[in-house]
Amino acid sequence: MVSPREKAMAKQMAKDPQKTAVTTTLEVIPANALDIPMFQVLKEDGTVHKGAKLPDINKELALKMFSTMQFIRVLDERMIAAQRQGRISFYLSSLGEEAAAIGSAAALQFEDMIMGQYREQGALAFRGFTIEQFMNQLFSNAKDLGKGRQMPVHYGCAALNFMTISSPLGTQIPQATGYAFGQKQSGEKTCTLCYFGEGAASEGDFHAGLNMAAVYKVPVIFFCRNNGYAISTPASEQFAGDGIAPRATGYGMKAIRVDGNDIFAVYAATQEARRLAVEENEPVLIEAMSYRMAGHSTSDDPTGYRTREEEDARRVREPMVRFRNWLLKKGWITEEEADAQQQSHKETVLAALKEAETVPVPALEEIIVDVYDTPTQALQEQLESLKAHIKKYPDAYPKTSGGVK
């Protein structure tokens, strides 16, 4: 029905000669034209799917991943309790999503930059953030790398190539594109991995970051944790599409959908994405399907918007038991070893908590530091009058008045 010349013209018009054909019947592209399956290696019971290929993970790495998982679960549990006891003001658990963060971080090189949202403490722990470092941040004390300026869980560490977390959602997505652009320009064979939730993917910054990454072909992995909720808002009220993965096609970007509760699948997917990013300059969007088993944060009570039944139905798919079962069957760990490890994590966490609690807040002088590279004259004056004020009313500012000379 269409002449070759017509076809050629149409192709030229769409800029990419490969892409557009002409049709003479009105075709409405259906709302879900793509069908993207979810990659899974481990079954729920920890056995491997028949025919599925395990990623190349040695015992040491597997045990490090498992230990990090157990550690994070202990940390999360302990700090939720600490918040309830009023020892810290806020906490945010990654319960049920540990495999997504740890499996992906494990597939990176240490030099790769990680930009997180706030529920990826597993990635940070895998990188080597110490329990003391976690605690110092959570207690906003003088040893916190962030100098006590942000709320708990807003970790960051330059030495570990882990960008400091920022609360406004989605902002790190175009930043990751820019960071990766710099990596590509510098010629180092590194990439940036950027985590975000399916809720944050609604922000305009998501659109900006992904489109620009596809245009510039930068080594970035966009890792979406689709955990079904944004605070109380279920994914069904967040978007009408089939999750986040099909959006990649809209940008001309590659995509992988993976079971976020299967640490091997996450590892393998991220490894392949890293290869594409670093070796072929192909940005990749990974959508990891999981479930936020905890409340959104300690400020949230999920019973207001979902049922116990729903939670129970999801709990059976949780990632840690699955991985543990695989390790047990494989013989790389025993029940007793696993339990002992967890016990030991508990003790470490508790000891560090108690220690961090005793560290004072940062010195008052820090209040004006880092606004600029050096404090402006106006800030110095503001600090001086603040000091004079505190000296006048030391009891009103008990945390800092002791240090004001």
């Binding site: 004390n141 406004p168 800030l379």
Partner: protein
Amino acid sequence: MAKMNLLQAINSALDVAMAKNDKVSVFGEDVGHFGGVFRATSGLQEKYGRNRCFNTPLVEQGIIGFANGLAAQGSFPVAEIQFGDYIFPAFDQIVNETAKFRYRSGNEFNVGGLTIRTPYGGGIHGGHYHSQSPEAYFAHTPGLKIVIPRNPYQAKGLLLSAIFDPNPVLFMEPKRLYRAAVGEVPEDDYTIPLGKAEVVQEGTDVTVVGWGAQVEVIERAAELAAKDGVSVEIIDLRSILPWDADTVAKSVMKTGRAVVSQEAPHTMAFGSEVAATIQEQCFLYLESPVMRASGLDTPYPLAHEKEYFSDHLKTYEAIKRSLNY
């Protein structure tokens, strides 16, 4: 009359507005079934249905863009931005669109039905991104109204005015007082005029100007000053845009001294406009410069929140500086 906290007063205002006019709808992140992270919209979806009280996707620029369109269509959208700190992705829609909609079209179209609600302010251990007081960022925007209540009675009366005012209104709620401020509030419909300040306490020696949660801080400072024998006149602006310079000027002409106390960082906070205008209008009456007690010129810190905050003691000291100049 009923005892309500500030949140309940907001909820009651929304309830009254929705009952009164079925073109009023409320939406935002988590405001639907859950009733909002602060529960300000609690019960409204059950009562008015999912078409009039609903969740939005997580996209502030979309919430306000959508609300602008809905208002242009003739509705009265009440859009919630979960925290004032997260209103900035919507800055373009508010400053370039909402505020200019009527003017640019020669009144062919307007978004007068729009009200944007957002909690603001510190003192809740919120750090950088759950503490900001961004009113000054919007106050440079002709076409917009900005309203901030200080207690439950005001919250309900001002919000009802805002919703049905034929101009778009940014309604900022002092989240520190959501549960802390409790007072008698009429259960029925009533309004408080926009653009008018309130003299909260009469006095003769110095005028102290504030708004929202800061008024309570000023009251404490005034008590300290009273012990020194100083009589403080307290003015609550209630509206930041357009603001009631007349009431402030009248007071300052009487007292001869003025202090502004505000939460936001010092430079270019709204107190700068108040000071600039008052020194102009009251120049010959002023016995000392208009003083400002403000937050520090830094992002909002967590561990040093107490030190950062322009509390009653700093306000009291500013009053003394004004008197002893």
